[in-house]
């Protein structure tokens, strides 16, 4: 009871946040909160099996899948909240509000009888109870569901499969192409330098230093440079020099 009154406002707020947040990742996180809260509400309503399934399947698998796809798709102009269809937002809010009011009003009119409670149904435990029903009354639906899942898996693979249009280049082809590029356009034929080892943590945001001490542009991803998350090597260098100086002072000066 207390759990409900704590979770319910939280869930509504998070749901609204999911709708209005600009970044899709934030939406996903909001949704995670709603789902976990739902799981708790399931538990509060004598449905421990669904509690577990909600956590594992929804929060665990489905949301992970969402995040995975979000990473693949990346930042997109469609994330913006500017409405492009004329009147769509206004109408959507109006009709949505109407819908919600009508639903709630309807529910308010309903007189619900006494709550039976699941004590009797769960007398052997909730999981055996669900299992007994699932493998007796609902066994056919259950089997059909298995077929649905297999079909969905195969369908996803088919959709995700990319037909190769040209022969896969062999290592020899690639080497020849590299040499041709070098001859024609002077493209560096060797491997690009790795990120800098001038690092204090396991990161790829630090450029490698060239022999003259300048950072190599080629050693870091272009995406990171575009996002401006590349570490400033000069700042690091200065900090390190300062630390070294301090260390030397502590050791008793000048002894390098």
């Amino acid at each position: 009871m207390i759990a409900f009154w704590i979770l319910a406002p939280l869930m509504v707020v998070c749901a609204l946040g999911m709708v209005v947040s600009r970044k899709a990742v934030h939406s996903a996180l909001m949704l995670a909160v709603v789902m976990v809260s739902l799981a708790i509400l399931y538990a509060a309503q004598d449905a421990p099996f669904l509690f577990a399934v909600q956590i594992i399947v929804y929060t665990g698998a489905v949301l992970m899948l969402f995040l995975f796809v979000l990473m693949l798709v990346g930042v997109d102009a469609s994330d913006s909240l500017v409405e492009t269809l004329r009147g769509q937002r206004l109408l959507a809010i109006a009709v949505g509000l109407l819908f919600a009011i009508v639903l709630v009003a309807g529910l308010a009119q309903v007189t619900v009888g006494a709550v039976v409670g699941l004590d009797e149904a769960n007398i052997d435990g909730n999981v055996p109870g669900v299992a007994r029903l699932l493998f007796s009354n609902y066994v056919f639906a259950f089997e059909v569901t298995s077929a649905l899942l297999i079909t969905a898996a195969v369908g996803a693979m088919v959709l995700a499969h990319r037909e190769r249009l040209s022969a896969k280049p062999t290592q020899r082809d690639m080497a020849l192409q590299r040499m041709r590029d070098y001859a024609d356009r002077g493209v560096h034929p060797g491997p690009l330098p790795g990120p800098g080892t001038f690092a204090r943590h396991n990161s790829v945001d630090t450029p490698a230093l060239l022999p003259d001490g300048t950072p190599s542009e080629l050693s870091i991803s272009r995406v990171m440079r575009a996002r401006g998350t590349v570490r400033d090597v000069e700042a690091d260098r200065a900090a390190i020099a300062r630390v070294d100086d301090e260390t030397n002072v502590l050791r008793g000066g000048g002894d390098r």
Partner: protein, 99 residues
């Protein structure tokens, strides 16, 4: 505890999910909103199961979850395919099927 607050919460979540479907353009977010709607209905199922004192409602919620999982797999695969060819995840961009 009376089931009515649960049902009202369910209705609210469902309406919010609907609203999200209508106003968001990012296909993935739209999908999340659909999931929210499904979850809202699950809550109602579970509540009614307790109300009636049998587990059929929970079974129904269970099936909804299974179907939702399958739907997410296929749906996201479709979004990926569209994104790969059109470089866009906006539901408004896929609007060729019209007059």
């Amino acid at each position: 505890m009376s089931p009515t607050p649960f049902l009202v919460l369910s209705a609210l979540l469902f309406s919010i999910g609907t609203l999200g479907v209508l106003v968001r353009r990012n296909a993935i977010v739209v999908f999340m909103c659909v999931e929210l709607m499904l979850n809202a209905s699950n809550l109602a199922f579970v509540t009614f199961a307790r109300q009636h004192g049998n587990l059929d409602g929970q079974i129904a919620a269970f099936f909804v979850m299974v179907v939702a999982a399958a739907e997410v797999v296929v749906g996201l695969a479709i979004i990926m395919t569209i994104f790969r060819t059109r470089r866009s995840a906006s539901v408004d961009d896929a609007s060729l099927l019209k007059y």
